[in-house]
């Protein structure tokens, strides 16, 4: 079964500083990978996704993520954070392929991002 690990429960970053949120996955084949963001009191919104091809993917709000197969990682990055980036971030993995059967989208436990002035 697939699994996702987000090792950092809470990260605090100064406004304008760079950001990297970690995500590691476990899955036998090449999964489909996603990052979602959740603002307080809201549902989740997709930031970006990786299915195949270029391992560096660009998303909304200036975020990017890099798929590294050798490290089973899909870390999220942003060069310069803004106060509005304060939120909770979830990494998720899908089974990939067209024959996904009963396999589901699996979420990590999330990383809460705090931005300080």
């Amino acid at each position: 079964a697939q699994s996702v690990t987000q090792p950092d429960i809470h990260i605090t970053v100064s406004e304008g500083a760079s950001l990297e949120l970690r995500c590691n996955y476990s899955y036998g084949a090449t999964p489909y990978l996603f990052w979602y963001v959740q603002s307080p009191g809201q549902g989740l919104q997709l930031l970006l996704k990786y299915f195949s091809g270029d391992t560096l993917v660009q998303g909304i709000k200036g975020f990017e993520a890099e798929f590294k197969r050798s490290q089973s990682s899909f870390n999220l990055r942003k060069p310069s954070v803004h106060w509005s980036d304060a939120a909770e971030y979830f990494c998720a993995v899908g089974p990939g392929g067209s024959n996904f059967g009963n396999e589901k989208l699996t979420f990590g436990t999330g990383t809460r991002l705090t931005i300080i002035p």
Binding site: G43, K49, F100, L105
Partner: protein
């Protein structure tokens, strides 16, 4: 924004009572999901549906049932609410690619069982 409406948005109920949460979509998406979100656990899948009258269990389905009689509506029922079911519940929908495509989420329902 994807057309997903959850109702109610907030509910307080007593232990032992049945509770039904509703998810309504206007996107005509095939797949619908119910998740619960708890601190330290992220989102955990309760049940999902892959079509009208077609549903299956997720990882935390005990104490919950679902029904989908129309494409647009997916109901989650807590048969006899317990304090451990106090949580925030999210509905999500996806298109034909199921778990391999973008999921759109509702705003959530905060349920408190006292």
């Amino acid at each position: 924004d994807a057309g997903i409406t959850q109702s109610p948005r907030h509910k307080v109920t007593e232990t032992g009572t049945p509770v039904t949460l509703r998810c309504h979509q206007t996107e005509n998406h095939r797949y619908m999901y119910w998740y619960r979100q708890d601190p330290g656990h992220g989102l955990r899948l309760i049940h999902y549906s892959y079509g009208v009258k077609d549903t299956d269990k997720g990882e935390v389905s005990d104490g919950y049932s679902v029904s989908r009689s129309k494409t647009e509506d997916f109901l989650l029922t807590l048969e006899s609410a317990t304090s451990s079911q106090t949580s925030v519940y999210f509905c999500a929908i996806t298109g034909e690619q199921g778990p391999n495509t973008e999921a759109f989420f509702g705003q959530g329902t905060r349920l408190t069982v006292v």
